[in-house]
Amino acid sequence: MRKNWLRDYIIKRLFYVVIIAFGVLLVTFTLVRIGPSIGATHPADKYLASMAAQGQDVSQAIAAIEARYGLDKPLYEQFINYAGNLARGDWGWSLSTSMPVIELIKTHWIYSAQLIILSSIFAAGAGILIGILSAVRQYSKTDYIATFFSFVGISIPNFWLGVMLILLFSVQLGVFRTYYDTGIPVFSLANLRQLILPVITLGTGMTAGYTRYTRSAMLDNLRKDFVRTARAKGLPERTVIGKHVFRNAVLPLVTIIMFDLGAIVFGGAYLTEIIFGIPGLGQISFNAIFADDYAVVVTVVLISAFLVLLINLVTDVTYTYLDPRIKYD
């Protein structure tokens, strides 16, 4: 019975996802199309500017460019074309690298993915463990140290941490290289080694956050009555904490972890890629900006937005599935 309801809920959520996705597309498109008309750089501005400087008539060139990019059609038609293209897999052409955007994405997404996934696993694992330990030994030395570190971790600007780590380990101690070598195969130990500093940079803030949330969720549940019942049944303490308390604490935790993942990690990953020279999607979109390569920038923004949407959906469904008390209406 519950499974039917769960399925209906997922369908309803997917419907919302479609609506929101549409909204995301609309906003991005509007931003981009408005841009060139408010004096931002038009794809061929530089060229046009030099032509104008030479006293040539640019109006024909402008007309040709606009026709080429479909800029002369009414806005809604442009939007429909745009959305249609996206659906068909035509994500535009990257002017700066002279290849279809989709090719660019294909070669570079793995670098972002490895960074984000590794950091998340590291952060979630460390954060949850420390959080549980901290809660179970509340007010002990372990707890104070953990709480102190989590405060520090949240407050350190992660881009500064990256620079400091490079300063310490690469410049002063020479343990790691200061740049990322793409020659090393992705699925190798050497690659893992050179990802250590970036993962620490991205993961520290996340770990600190997870530690705090886990600790508070565990504390909330540790003083509940069912814990006393579990002990009265003769269960060993590790079962009481690990099974009963944790399972109850996990509910709000899941939401927070996934939400963090969606919203905040991407910004941090972006910076981390730039600092360490990891050629992921953040890095290439950054370069694209300075190269006036709109197509790449817009595509990366859209990909991120859709990923966030997906993660939110998975979070909501997971949360609903985990808590038997919930029945959304």
């Binding site: 509940k224 009555d225 069912f226 006393r228 019942t229 579990a230 002990r231 009265a232 049944k233 003769g234 269960l235 060993p236 303490e237 009963h244 399972r247 109850n248 509910l251 985990l322 808590d323 038997p324 008390r325």
Partner: protein, 323 residues
């Protein structure tokens, strides 16, 4: 019937708080015999629940601590047992059922899970066997369609069902002692009667000893064999239920009985005992009921009353009877 299962000697449990040491249980003794129902009676805050938790070693150790006394179960002093030893006792030899079943049950696991978990732990049986036992237990406590019930979560059951499920959980490993902490307080009157019935029946069919904590004398008279009256962490009167209810000696017990509205008489006001329960931090010398006692003597404010046997099995802690 005379075999002593549990013997509590001079149990003292204190709590260390910012405002001082709270003497929640200040020296109580009693015995629990086989197949008997011993009722622990008293107002909220008199220490009955703390005493029960102390028996099972479930007091949160900062800030609480058992500071004195012994709890003998089968010649073993539970107070001195290690955590590991206690885990063999809890849920298996001595089980406890709590007051508010909604909060005492884990909301994210099914009833079936929570019962079989205990069965598998103590009896080491397989999953299907544990499940079968759970179903028959639920049937025993009067839950209709027990198979469906095992797949339900606590919030899907009514108050009475939850309480029965808790009792089933307590019984799951055939304990010799079942401690029930006000199991009928959070439940409707009609359900109350059913639960008392179930407990009564179980006591007889399983030859189990029942330690029943309550503040309602009505329940005591229905289900109890012997009773203990507690006040502010100490005992005031102990003995057979019929004897005490017919011939109460301690002024507090008399007061409690008088508080019960009598259906046969017409009255303008309900009676109550004047005053309030004293603070358990740094209690004064003498009898703690002294400030509220209408028959207090001078010695009552100086010396703590010692137990006096006034009749067979009937003991009072009051200076009025120590002649």
């Amino acid at each position: 019937m005379d075999e002593t299962i549990l013997k509590v000697n001079d149990l003292e449990t204190h709590f260390l708080t910012a405002r001082g040491i709270v003497k929640a249980v200040d020296g109580i003794d009693f015995e629990l015999r086989k197949s008997e129902c011993l009722c622990l009676v008293g107002e909220s805050g008199c220490g009955k629940t703390v005493a029960m938790l102390s028996i099972l070693g479930l007091i949160d150790t900062p800030p609480g601590k058992i500071v004195g006394g012994q709890v003998y179960y089968e010649d073993v002093n539970l107070v001195e047992c290690s955590g590991k030893q206690m885990r063999h006792i809890r849920g298996k030899e001595i089980a406890m059922v709590f007051q508010d079943a909604q909060s005492a049950l884990d909301p994210v696991f099914t009833i079936g899970d929570q019962i079989t978990e205990q069965i598998k732990l103590h009896l080491g049986v397989s999953n299907p066997e544990a499940k079968e036992r759970a179903i028959s237990l639920l049937q025993e406590v009067g839950i209709p369609s027990p198979e469906t019930a095992t797949a339900n979560y606590p919030h899907q059951l009514s108050g009475g069902m939850k309480q029965r499920a808790m009792i089933a959980m307590g019984l799951s490993c055939d304990p010799r002692v079942l401690i029930a902490d006000e199991p009928t307080t959070a439940v409707d009157v009609t359900i109350k009667a059913q639960i008392l019935d179930i407990l009564q029946r179980l006591k007889e069919t399983r030859q189990m000893s029942l330690l029943f904590v309550t503040h309602e004398l009505g329940i005591v008279s229905e289900i109890g064999d012997r009773m203990l009256v507690m006040y502010a962490g100490r005992l005031t009167e102990t003995g057979q239920v019929s004897e005490i209810l017919d011939h109460p000696r301690h002024p507090y017990t008399i007061g409690l009985i008088n508080c019960l509205p009598d259906m046969t008489k017409t009255r303008d006001r309900l009676e109550s005992i004047p005053g309030t329960v004293p603070s358990l931090i740094d209690p004064p010398d003498g009898c703690l009921f002294y400030p509220r006692c209408s028959r207090a003597l001078a010695v009552c404010s100086q010396n703590r009353p010692l137990p006096v046997t006034v009749n067979q099995g009937h003991t009072v802690f009051c200076h009025l009877y120590s002649q």
